[in-house]
């Protein structure tokens, strides 16, 4: 289900080339929406003084996460190997329930649709959805 075809990878790379300039905005907005729309995700950030979706910790973290996504685009030919360190981090230190990767991915797609309504065609939508699903699988690799 998450084998990325050459066509998928081309679509992801092409779309990312168009939107990467706004990567920080996408990251901040995706995380804000995840926290606002799926409040159960806030349980992972109880160590933040300010847990509000548009607070400074959330904005900073959105950028961090999106930098990870940008890195994954460059490693799209072997996500499992490329994301090994991040997988260990999420598995042993952060211990995020992998179901939440789907939630964050959905919010990234919503933000992309809002910011790039013309470019975010159904074909780009499916390629990005598959890519984020593959990314999530690679992140969950070391869990068990």
């Amino acid at each position: 289900m998450t084998t990325l075809t050459a066509k998928d990878k081309d679509a992801v790379r092409a779309f990312w080339a168009k939107v990467s300039g706004k990567s920080e905005d996408i990251g901040k907005q995706s995380l804000a929406r995840m926290l606002a729309v799926y409040p159960q995700t806030k349980t992972y950030f109880s160590h933040w003084k300010d847990q509000s979706p548009d607070g400074a910790p959330a904005r900073k973290h959105g950028i961090t996460v999106m930098n990870g996504v940008a890195d994954a685009v460059s490693k799209i030919d072997n996500l499992t190997a490329g994301l090994l360190d991040l997988s260990e981090l999420h598995a042993f230190t952060l211990r995020v329930d992998p179901a939440n990767f789907k939630i964050l991915a959905h919010n990234m797609l919503v933000v992309m649709a809002i910011m790039f309504p013309i470019e975010f065609t159904p074909e780009v939508h499916v390629a990005m959805d598959k890519f984020l699903a593959s990314l999530a699988l690679a992140l969950a690799e070391k869990y068990r």
Binding site: Q29, R33, A36, V37, V110, P117, P122, H125
Partner: protein, 147 residues
């Protein structure tokens, strides 16, 4: 039973007012078929829906997209009683169409994305949260007669 505050009701109606059913309906359904191709199994009479371009040029997809969004209008008009309003539709999708109810969740996500393309920043995080609460109630109602 899901309860909506006055603020939530007006938020949902405000977004719904911006939605052109004839545009968003077909877009949402096309995305479901393209992004989640296993849903093709439910549309055997639609002809060619096996590639993205076939889906996007299929008149039956357009027509049915409108039907689906028109049904959502009923939920907007009956926010206090979505379960009862949708009981018939739920039974129909179970007994006649044999639709796996997980697909209702997928459709809801695609409706949100199709609306996001149209209304853009009007769908801010708070509005998205309220809209999701509404769609979750709709998805619940669609699941309610599966037993």
């Amino acid at each position: 039973m899901v309860k909506f505050t006055e603020k939530e009701r007006s938020t949902i109606r405000a977004i719904w007012e911006k939605v052109n059913i004839d545009e968003v309906g077909p877009d949402a359904l096309a995305r479901v078929l393209i992004v989640y191709p296993w849903t093709e199994r439910y549309f055997g009479t639609f002809g060619d829906i096996f590639t993205a371009s076939a889906v996007l040029n299929n008149a039956k997809v357009v027509a049915h997209g409108k039907v689906v969004l028109k049904a959502l209008d009923e939920a907007v008009k009956n926010m206090d009683n979505i379960k009862k309003t949708y009981a018939y539709l739920s039974r129909l999708h179970y007994e006649v169409f044999h639709v796996d109810p997980d697909n209702f969740r997928l459709l809801a996500d695609c409706i949100t994305i199709a609306i996001a393309c149209k209304v853009k920043s009007a769908l801010d995080p708070q509005v998205q949260a309220t809209w999701k609460k509404f769609l979750s109630a709709v998805v619940d109602a669609m699941n309610s007669q599966y037993y």
